[in-house]
Amino acid sequence: MAVARPTSRRRSVLALLLVTAITLITLDLRENDTGVVASVRNVTSDAVAPVQDGVGSVLSPISDWFEGVVKSGEIKRENEQLKQELAEARNDAASGRAALRENERLNELLNLDFVGDLETVSARVVGTAVGNFDDTVELDRGTDHGVKVGMPVVVGQGLVGRVVTASRLRSTVMLLTDTESGVGVRLERSNTLGVAKGQADRDEMHLVLVNPDVDVAKGEMVVTSGVDGARFPGGIPVAVVKQVGKDPGAIEQKIVLDPVADMGQLEIVNVLLWQPAGG
């Protein structure tokens, strides 16, 4: 009777695992949001949701402290800036303008002017991406609260991203800065269309597919295009132009965007109960 050599048995086990993994990858890529793999992911997400709530409340002060240590340089700079702003605010207060300005600022935060008549669901950010190469956040609202895959997510300043998975109690939002994210946008001044693509550098985007002859100005506002079939309603602020240049020999301009929403400081967001046509 033939006996399998240990090496060939090892290779058979490894080959079996690789075939299984490739089958799973293919299955996951081919199926839609309601397929078997998506359902397993959603069940997992709901199962860990209560643990996540508990862990989050315990860890919050520790992670805040850790962030303070890691980002001490940045915090010092921010502190200096805040001191300067405080000094300016004191001057304003003396002339009675501070209260008025604060009132305007709070109104801006509460007022999602760009949303219009669309219904929204407020959600709390309860987690960030598990992997090193995703730029996502997890919300404490899911399909039980009306959240569905594809819905846009905003804060007072503008667009944050869109829902990419939604279980009963949780949903995951792909941020604008994720490398997979692409938003159809319009430059406010010239009305030119383009696509704002996320970058691996996390806190900026690039504007691509823009007519090379268009004059783009630094500081110009970029809003969602809202063209037919777009993933987002039109007119939502997305970013401002941070830098415009052209690499030698390149046809397209290199346009770097700074998102209007601070992706690193998201706490409460609003999910727009809006889905793209056909979505």
Binding site: R9, R10, V13, L14, L17, L18, T20, A21, I22, T23, L24, I25, L27, D28, L29, V37, V40, R41, T44, V48, V51, Q52, V55, G56, L59, I62, S63, F66, V70, G127, T128, A129, V130, G131, N132, F133, D134, T136, V164, T172, M174, T179, E180, K197, G198, Q199, A200, D201, R202
Partner: protein
């Protein structure tokens, strides 16, 4: 078997719920990978590959990339470490952070390439390379703690790490 399962599930829960809150330059260590490498350091290649596969599938449930990508790279890395340590390497304490670092680096690179082949854009950039490097350094650092803990949890001394 039960202990390995418990180790993997605990690792996945810590990876998914705790570690994302503690990022250094945008990176977190890959605890599940380091656990499967530590298991591979003490087990036969077949068992190591299966442990890596299961650990990869569990962590894939929390990632955006297709289910199975981490499973492939973890299984291959675990198999390679188990084959190396049974045939070539003598396990020493100095080797542990190197296994963590190079394991993290090669698995991360393979993960990025496979995900890109699966159609995920923008992953092969200088930005991701920087995050990968920091994450690998963190993997090497936590390996110093994780390897002995895994050894104790498995309760065996088949290939004890020597000084």
């Amino acid at each position: 078997m039960l202990r390995v399962g418990a180790l993997l599930v605990s690792g996945v829960l810590i990876q998914a719920l705790v570690l994302p809150e503690f990022r250094v330059l945008g990176a977190t260590p890959d605890l599940v990978l380091v656990i499967v490498l530590a298991i591979a350091f003490r087990e036969e290649p077949e068992f190591a590959a299966v442990s890596g596969f299961v650990g990869g599938i569990l962590i894939d449930l929390f990632l955006r990339t297709p289910l199975g990508v981490s499973a492939i790279v973890y299984a291959l890395a675990s198999y390679a470490v188990a084959v190396l340590h049974t045939g070539i390497l003598r396990p020493t304490r100095g080797l542990v952070p190197l296994i963590g670092f190079f394991g993290g680096l090669s698995v991360g690179a393979a993960y990025l390439v496979l995900s890109s082949l699966a159609g995920y854009e923008g992953l092969l950039t200088m930005g991701t390379a920087q995050v990968l490097l920091v994450a690998s350094l963190l993997d090497g650092a936590i390996a110093l703690v994780v390897f002995p803990l895994v050894g104790k949890a498995l309760g065996e001394d088949r290939t004890a790490v020597t000084a």
